[in-house]
């Protein structure tokens, strides 16, 4: 356990606080950060033990919005579980949706056509942009810079409009189906995506970066705050931008490419210190990379079907349901859940907004999973939080939590 813990002290007082053990007869004050607190962005509690303004120790209580998704999933047909995944990381629902679809497709052995995979990549990267955009701009809000947040919110609205055009919903999207997309990208959707990634968004994001990246006040607040070494980050199960900020270039999109990610040229931005500033910069960089991926995908969008030819799993078009016998039968069988999945044990991971989002599915040959476990990145890395804010002040604890991007839905499942 005693690996090299590097929490870079901001000044000599911090170094003292780090080495300071809890003393028995000393009076400490206890402070509740949460469950309902503007800085927690969700409902979870941190009980901080304070020595003056320094955090000596902290304990987390999670589970306030636990909704027993894993249990509920054991009684639901596969296609009805997508709506549960929406509510994990609700800042980037499409990634969760497609991650789940891909898990089931792996179990069923469905080969998804190229066009559907490209559409999925576009939607997943849009989701990643909106996720990072929220995280970074909220970090601005937590340090007192509100305008950047409001400014980029307009762009998130455009992303949500694209979701709306593609699937009809905005936040909990339930996008796509097992075997592909539920409908093709409409010309309006393509026009909106093109406008976003080629015209409006790059300008806005460049301006957001000029607002923040070299802003003295902002950097004073976040630089060297909450640093974690790569060794500790790996031990604590960090993945995603928080891990890459420590200098490790692990990305599921590259390590185990899914959904045609191998077709695209992009880089993995990494930091080197693992502090709040690095996490901020890595997310900024990832937004640019996501833009690059969407630009490539929309330019090279293949022609062809947008769903796999799998009558047993993919709902037939409504028009055929009303006119053909076979389509009606399949529609009925799928909706009533009369089609059994094969026996199998699958793990599929996608790169979610916060890191490796994994679905561990055991099917015993029924219509519902025998066991489904979500590997939720926030839940796993949030346990490093006490170590990261030890010896720092409350204002630091707030920005660390904000930069970790702990999403309550994902934390509690």
């Amino acid at each position: 356990m005693a690996e090299n813990t590097i929490i870079l002290p901001k000044d000599s007082n911090d170094a003292l606080a780090l080495n300071m053990p809890m003393v028995e007869d000393k009076q400490y004050s206890t402070l509740n950060l949460g469950p309902v607190h503007p800085a927690t962005h969700g409902i979870f509690q941190n009980i901080l033990t304070m020595d003056g303004e320094k955090i000596v120790d902290s304990e987390q209580t999670v589970g306030y919005i636990h909704r027993a998704f894993e249990k509920i999933a054991e009684r639901r047909p596969f296609y009805q579980i997508t709506t549960l995944t929406d509510r994990l990381n609700y800042c980037s629902s499409p990634i969760n949706n497609f991650g789940w679809h891909m898990t089931v497709e792996k179990l069923l052995g469905v080969k998804v056509p190229k066009r559907a995979e490209y559409i999925r990549v576009i939607m997943m990267e849009l989701a990643r942009i909106s996720d990072h955009l929220i995280c970074n701009s909220i970090l601005g809000v937590d340090t007192g810079a509100y305008s950047g947040f409001l400014y980029v919110m307009q762009e998130r609205e455009k992303i949500y409009e694209i979701y709306e055009e593609v699937c009809g919903a905005r936040l909990t999207t339930n996008m796509g189906r097992i075997g592909g997309m539920e409908r093709d990208l409409s010309p309006t959707a393509i026009a909106k995506i093109r406008d976003l990634v080629f015209n409006s968004f790059p300008k806005v994001w460049a301006e957001f970066e000029t607002l923040f990246n070299r802003n003295r006040i902002f950097r004073d607040r976040i630089q060297n705050v909450g640093a974690i070494s790569s060794t500790r980050a790996i031990a604590y199960g960090f993945t995603g931008p928080n891990l890459r900020a420590t200098g490790v270039d692990y990305d599921v999109r590259v390590n185990e490419p899914y959904s045609s990610y191998e077709d695209f040229e992009f880089e993995i931005p990494i930091g080197h210190k693992g502090d709040t500033f690095d996490r901020f910069m890595v997310r900024n960089g990832e937004v640019w990379e996501s833009l690059k991926i969407i630009q490539q995908a929309i330019e090279n969008l293949p022609e062809g079907p947008y769903y796999a030819d799998e009558d047993h799993y993919y709902l037939p078009p409504k028009k055929e349901v009303y006119s053909s016998m076979e389509a009606l039968i399949y529609h009925f069988k799928i909706v009533m859940g009369e089609i059994d999945a094969p026996v199998g044990e699958v793990y599929h991971a996608v790169e979610g907004g916060n890191g490796e989002l994994g679905f561990y599915l055991i099917s015993d040959g029924g219509r519902t999973p025998y066991r489904l476990h979500f590997r939720r990145p926030s839940f796993i890395y949030y346990q490093a939080y006490p170590e990261m804010c030890k010896g720092l002040t409350i204002s630091d604890a707030v920005v660390i939590m904000s930069s970790l991007n702990v999403i309550a839905g994902e934390l509690d499942a």
């Binding site: 356990m1 999670v62 589970g63 636990h66 027993a68 894993e70 249990k71 509920i72 054991e74 009684r75 639901r76 047909p77 792996k106 179990l107 500790r232 790996i234 031990a235 604590y236 199960g237 490790v248 692990y250 390590n255 185990e256 009533m336 859940g337 199998g344 044990e345 699958v346 793990y347 991971a349 490796e356 994994g358 561990y360 055991i362 029924g366 219509r367 519902t368 025998y370 066991r371 476990h373 590997r375 839940f379 796993i380 890395y381 949030y382 346990q383 490093a384 509690d412 499942a413």
Partner: protein, 166 residues
């Protein structure tokens, strides 16, 4: 070249009869070990000079009510980033005495994952620094993910499994 075969060879060479039940569902090497040997096996794979399973991806519990003597399963999945290969290790323990050694001595991330598994399945991780419920409330006196707790209201007669799933 490190692949599943070479891992099986090394692990069997090191542990012999202590590891068994090798299979490869969807290419992911899966095997079973005894509860008493789990830490040793994971430690071996983690510190192996070639394999370098440096990352604990996940720990999950599974309940098999009809597997007498091994009703509860604690599954851990480790990942070698350098070789980009995953391994899934299972331990089956009787529900009457579900004791599995903790992995939190090897991976700090196991702490909450094991608390979650304890919370939902009641698997006791021996040597865990802080084994208490994490997502459910602390005064809960049952383990809700076990199969004997149905999700639907048990008094309802109209929702039969033949029509509405398990």
């Amino acid at each position: 070249m490190i692949n599943n075969e070479s891992i099986v060879e090394e692990v069997v060479g090191q542990f012999g009869q202590k590891v068994f039940g090798f299979e490869e569902p969807f290419g992911l090497l899966t095997f079973t070990t005894n509860a008493s040997d789990l830490t040793e096996v994971v430690d071996f794979l983690k510190n192996h000079p070639k394999f370098k399973f440096n990352f604990l991806t996940d720990i999950a519990g599974i309940h098999f009510p009809y597997n007498a003597g091994g009703e509860l399963c604690s599954m851990c999945m480790i990942h070698s980033w350098e070789n980009n290969i995953r391994v899934r290790i299972k331990v089956f323990v009787p529900i009457a005495d579900p004791k599995v050694p903790t992995l939190s001595t090897l991976f700090a991330s196991a702490n909450w994952m094991e608390r979650e598994t304890f919370d939902f399945f009641g698997i006791e991780y021996i040597g865990h620094p802080n084994l208490k419920r994490i997502l459910n409330m602390e005064d809960m006196d049952y383990f809700p993910m076990r199969k004997e707790y149905p999700l639907e209201d048990a008094t309802r007669e109209d929702k039969i499994d033949a029509l509405f799933g398990r």
